[in-house]
């Protein structure tokens, strides 16, 4: 949750929407009025919402993947070469530290570590796993409803509340 830590005591207005069209429309209108949207809940991944929010399609997780991939190649080559160097056995008349067969461990470790890092990146950035769901969350958001969370100060809470209703929210809640 962006800013959740220092805005812990702030009030949030959560608007609930019934379908995609409504929520996208609401996002556009909130943005048009320069009301900062904290987050948008949806039961599934939606490119419409992403586009409406103006977010890039790829997150920073890609750098985790890149790092994992490079680390994987290094690990694979190092493991194959280092272990062979321990005894320098000759097998099949080959040089004790042959280079061709290091390709396979390098490739497989590339994939493995890249996947580990991608997953790790996703979990880290989402602060997962976590024990407590945030208080803005509504169980129906994973089922059939959409939600928009907007933080407000004491002064503009009422107006944002009204805007939500005006933009088509089926239900608007104020959460301290």
């Amino acid at each position: 949750m962006r800013g959740a830590a220092f805005m812990a005591n702030q009030t949030a207005v959560v608007g609930t929407f019934g379908n995609m069209e409504e929520v996208v429309k609401a996002i556009r209108r909130l943005k048009a009025e320069n009301i900062p949207i904290d987050s948008v809940y949806s039961p599934f991944r939606s490119s419409e919402i992403r586009e409406a929010l103006g977010e890039p399609s790829l997150g920073p997780g890609r750098f985790f993947t890149l790092f994992g991939a490079i680390a994987g190649i290094a690990t694979g080559i190092f493991l194959a070469a280092y272990t062979a160097a321990q005894w320098r056995f000759i097998v099949g008349g080959k040089y004790p530290i042959p280079y061709v067969p290091t390709v396979i461990p390098a490739f497989e470790f590339l994939i493995l570590l890249a996947v580990f890092f991608s997953l790790g990146g996703m979990l880290w950035m989402n602060k997962m796993p976590k024990r407590q769901l945030s208080k803005h969350y509504d169980k129906r958001f994973s089922q059939d409803l959409f939600g928009i969370v907007v933080y407000c100060s004491a002064s503009d809470c009422d107006s944002i509340y009204a805007r939500m209703e005006q933009f088509g929210a089926r239900e608007v809640r104020r959460i301290e």
Binding site: F89, I90, V91, G93, K94
Partner: protein, 986 residues
């Protein structure tokens, strides 16, 4: 002590003393405590070597037995011995399985009221024997006691005769050997006035023709002949002597010939007579005295070469070719089998062969009647039949048996077992149960040859010694000791004054000591005898040539009618001799040279005949002759001509222990029952059998995957002319050297690697290999290779590290052998596929297999093009006491592990330690592998390629050198030399 190097001398030196009569061997204990009173000559971890004599057949080869911690673990030939010369055949090496046979009699037994043998005490057993003998002696009469033994000589023969005479018996000692060579002896009597089996010397010949004599397998003294054949036949310089085999079956011996003249069974003599006729008619040999010419001319009058060829069923051109070769040779020789049980007209064939020998005086140099073989003492078939008749008539009160097994090997129709039932007392001294001993009502088991004192003389002038290499495995006693102590009970201390048989033996040899001129004390003479393994005067004086008679002899006229049914060839094999080794695991497990079959008998039938008769491999067929019937599985194979069946002897035991029983089939049961009154042998008019398919089957456990090598150049031959041409040109063979110099940029991806100090390698000279399989048994006994038995061989799971592969030539259908073992490749395909480095390359070039590292993916075997790796499908066990044979220097492999030839790495290490103690490197010839050690023809040569002077380094550049599957670029360190072929033309 000729040919005895220092190392062997030191080994033999350990023998001085009284041998190793050790305590505590009969009960395996489970804790390791050092000896408080160490037995003499036993140092834990250090082997002691004792000279002794092989008693597996009458050939009497000298052996060196290796003793570790009180147990015999390996036998090898005694290099000083004139017969074995350091080599040993398959049967000799397997003698350890006779010693450790789990079905040996464990102690004295008598037949109780229930009819079962029940254990008794030695004292009681001997009292029983003494009182029986006493009773017979009191009743009087001679011939009431018959002592039936196998061929024994020297002190034991003397003792037996003395014992019988003390008991008031004359001529009671009958020495029964299945092969008594009655026909050979008769032929020698006819031609040379000598009723004996002479000593033959094949090594000095330049031409040999054998009339069905399988001298490389069982004939008289097969190991000695194999050694001599190794001198006679292989390529020497640019020459190769010629050898022709005449006979109905492609035996192992026949397959070593340059020409196999295939004849009708029993018609070999026609070829000899045809040859005689051609030589006489053409005047091919000069200087034959006129009277002999006339004599021979009369004999061969009817035998024009066409008639002879028609009678023999062969091409006349072959007879004239053989005659031409015989005549051209400077020292030719003809030998004949002379065992009438195996062939009709055995006497005629042997006479004809002898007549050929009379043509050239030089031939007779190779036949020595001055040193007759002890076979000459054995009882003829006629006298055995007489014995059976006497027993049946109630003329025998006591039959004593020692190692002879006539119930198994006499013709079935004589019913020797039935005759034994008429003898009130049958006592067996045989060490192990067999068909004859199992009928005894008192069993007083004698020691095996490794546990006893004794001597054995295979021929005049050669006496081998036996000494206890270890304490008795079971509760047994030496036969001599049993005779002495019962003698004391029956008679008195005065008649039998010796404390034990050892003293009697020393007494016996005191005479020889006196004859030898008596330099030094008897003690030193005696110790020297024991150390050398026997007594053979250094320079035998030449015997006079035998006189040649002109006794009239008539040959059956050409064109006799064959009998009804399918002609049957019964033949002995190198494994089983006459069946006496069938309870030895190794000889059962190791495939027969020609058929590559293990564990069980078979009937060889030509594949085309089999197709005509609708017989497939393993179809059980019934063979019925006029005298008996056997059932055995059919084996379609090219070793017999079309329309002929062949059955090996040795199998078909019914009461010979767990390893021999129940396997088909015993062809002695088919034997003709008549007697040939002139020779005293079995009267064999030729065997013809009615063949019937029973509908059942008995799967043949064989190890060959194909008859043909499918053009893959595993075995390669080169003609003598081509070889000489190439050698003259200085042609270099194409070899991928398993050395850095074998690196070739065009096909090697990785750089070459160096070796440290040694690069072990083997050269296999296929021109010398006779296919006998001695190397295989040597390997089994040295390396604790497991015996898997029939069911597992059927699954293809035999464990052999080295094998003598047999292929048939696609055109000639003659067999070719290839000794296949781990090639210790420099670029070994098996190594890199192992995920955990269980196999890898040592700095000395060995392809090491680390057993405790292996977890059994079996990829190495999959990727091994030579298929020499063997997997332990189970933890193969060895019933006690067979496990006592295990070599403590070699790991016993557990289930789930791959194993293979290690080039006897334990011997390499031992040799390196010894060399280091001497402050030098291992020299060529310091040691060799177990297989190479025992090869009778020295076909296997082991050494290091880093030593430029070693034999292997010199031999790998021979023009005949090649590597198997060289196109795979594995750079094998086993390099083969092509077999040299030569054509014999008219």
């Amino acid at each position: 002590m000729q040919n005895l190097n220092r190392r062997e001398f030191l080994k033999l030196f350990g023998v001085c003393g009284t041998g190793a009569v050790l305590s505590g061997c009969s009960e395996p204990k489970r804790y390791l405590i050092p000896y408080i009173d160490p037995p003499e000559d036993v140092t834990p971890g250090v082997a002691a070597y004792y000279a002794t004599t092989c008693r597996e057949c009458p050939a009497g080869c000298g052996m060196i037995a290796k003793n570790r911690e009180g147990r015999v673990i390996k036998v090898e030939g005694n290099p000083a011995h004139p017969i074995s010369g350091g080599k040993l055949c398959m049967r000799g090496q397997a003698s350890l399985h006779g010693l450790y046979n789990p079905d040996r009699f464990t102690g004295p037994m008598r037949r109780g009221a229930t009819g079962q043998l029940e254990p008794i005490k030695w004292e009681n057993g001997q009292d029983l024997l003494a009182s029986t003998v006493n009773g017979i002696a009191r009743r009087g009469g001679t011939g009431r006691i018959v002592f039936l033994t196998d061929l024994i000589t020297g002190s034991l023969e003397d003792m037996t005769a003395y014992w019988l005479s003390e008991m008031g018996q004359q001529n009671g000692h009958v020495m029964y050997e299945t092969y008594a060579y009655e026909s050979l002896r008769q032929a020698n009597k006819v031609v040379f006035e000598n009723d004996a089996v002479p000593t033959y010397r094949l090594d000095g010949l330049d031409f040999l023709i054998s009339f069905n004599a399988d001298f490389l397998e069982t004939w008289i003294s097969n190991l000695e002949f194999a050694r001599q054949f190794g001198e006679f036949h292989p390529l020497k310089g640019d020459k190769k002597n010629k050898f022709i085999f005449v006979g109905p079956r492609l035996s192992m011996t026949a397959n070593n010939a340059d020409l196999w003249i295939q004849t009708r069974p029993g018609m070999e003599y026609a070829v000899a007579l045809g040859m005689l006729r051609i030589i006489l008619d053409g005047g091919l040999i000069k200087g034959i005295p006129a009277d002999r010419r006339a004599y021979l001319g009369a004999i061969t009058a009817d035998w024009s070469v066409e008639k002879a060829a028609a009678a023999a069923g062969c091409d006349p051109g072959m007879i004239s070719a053989a005659a031409g070769e015989f005549a051209r040779a400077a020292r030719p020789m003809a030998i004949a089998d002379g065992r009438s049980m195996f062939s009709a007209n055995a006497t005629e064939t042997a006479v004809a062969a002898n007549l050929l020998c009379t043509l050239n005086p030089k031939s007779l140099d190779a036949v020595d009647f001055g040193r007759p073989h002890s076979y000459s003492k054995t009882a003829s078939a006629q006298s055995m039949k007489g014995l059976a008749d006497r027993m049946r008539a109630g003329e025998v009160d006591l039959l004593l048996i020692y190692r002879a097994n006539p119930v198994f090997s006499l013709p079935g129709e004589w019913d020797f077992a039935g005759a034994m039932k008429s003898v009130p007392n049958v006592v067996s001294f045989s060490p192990a149960v067999d068909e004859t001993s199992s009928l005894a009502n008192l069993v007083l088991p004698a020691n095996y040859s490794f546990e006893t004192w004794g001597d054995y003389s295979p021929r005049q002038g050669v006496s081998g010694f036996l000494q206890p290499i270890m304490g008795p495995v079971f509760n047994t006693r030496g036969l001599g000791d049993i005779l002495i102590s019962t003698g004391k009970k029956v008679k008195s201390e005065i008649s039998f004054p010796w404390r034990d048989f050892n003293l009697a033996l020393q007494g016996y040899w005191t005479r020889a000591y006196k004859d030898s001129g008596g330099s030094g004390t008897f003690r030193s003479f005696w110790e020297n005898l024991l150390m050398r393994g026997g007594y053979w005067p250094q320079s035998p004086s030449p015997s006079p040539a035998p006189s040649i008679t002109t006794t009239a002899f008539s040959f059956p006229a050409p064109g006799q009618k064959p009998g009804k049914g399918m002609p049957v060839v019964v033949y002995p094999t190198i494994q089983f001799f006459d069946g006496r080794t069938a309870n030895h695991l190794w000889v059962q497990e190791i495939p027969d040279s020609m058929t590559q079959t293990t564990w069980g008998g078979w009937v060889e039938i030509h594949p085309e005949t089999a197709r005509e008769m609708d017989l497939g491999k393993g179809d059980l067929i019934e063979m019925k002759t006029d005298f008996g019937v056997v059932e055995a599985p059919a084996l379609p194979i090219y070793t017999v001509p079309k329309g002929v069946a062949a059955i090996p002897v040795g199998q078909g035991h019914t009461n010979f222990g767990r390893f021999a029983d129940g396997l088909p089939a015993n062809p002695f049961k088919l034997m003709p029952s008549g007697i040939d009154m002139t020779s005293g042998g079995i009267g064999n008019p030729g065997m013809y059998a009615a063949v019937r398919k029973t509908g059942a089957s008995f799967d043949i456990a064989h190890t060959d995957g194909s008859f043909s090598q499918h053009g893959r150049d595993f075995w390669q031959t080169i003609s003598l002319d081509e070889r000489n041409k190439m050698a003259a040109n200085g042609t270099q063979p194409y070899i991928d050297y398993p050395l850095p110099k074998g690196y070739d940029e065009s096909k090697d991806f990785y750089p070459p690697h160096e070796h440290k100090d040694y690069r072990w390698s083997m050269v296999v000279d296929m021109d010398r290999c006779i296919g006998c399989g001695a190397c295989v048994v040597g390997c089994y006994s040295e390396n604790n290779v497991a015996v898997v038995k029939r069911e597992q061989v059927l699954m293809g799971r035999e464990m052999s590290w080295i094998r003598v592969q047999r292929y048939f030539d696609d055109e000639t259908k003659l067999a070719r052998w290839l000794v296949m073992l781990c090639q210790h490749c420099d670029n070994a395909p098996c190594e890199y596929v192992c995920p955990i480095f269980a196999p890898q390359h040592s700095v000395e070039g060995l392809n090491n297999q680390i057993y405790n590292r292996c977890f059994g993916t079996r990829f190495c075997s999959q990727n091994d093009p030579y298929k020499v790796r063997r997997f332990n499908w189970y933890s193969f066990s060895r019933p006690s006491p067979l496990k006592w044979q295990l070599n403590p220097d070699v790991t016993v492999r557990q289930k789930g592990i791959m194993e293979k030839c290690s080039f006897c790495v334990q011997r390499i290490i031992e040799a390196k330690i010894e060399a280091r103690q001497k402050g030098r490197k291992v020299k060529d010839g310091d040691f060799t592998t177990a297989c190479a050690q025992t090869c009778p023809t020295n076909a296997l040569i082991f050494g290091s390629l880093l030593d430029p002077e070693s034999r292997v380094s010199r031999m790998i550049n021979d023009v005949r050198a090649y590597q198997v599957l060289v196109e795979l670029n594995t750079k094998p360190a086993v390099i083969y030399l092509k077999r040299v072929t030569q054509e014999i033309r008219a």
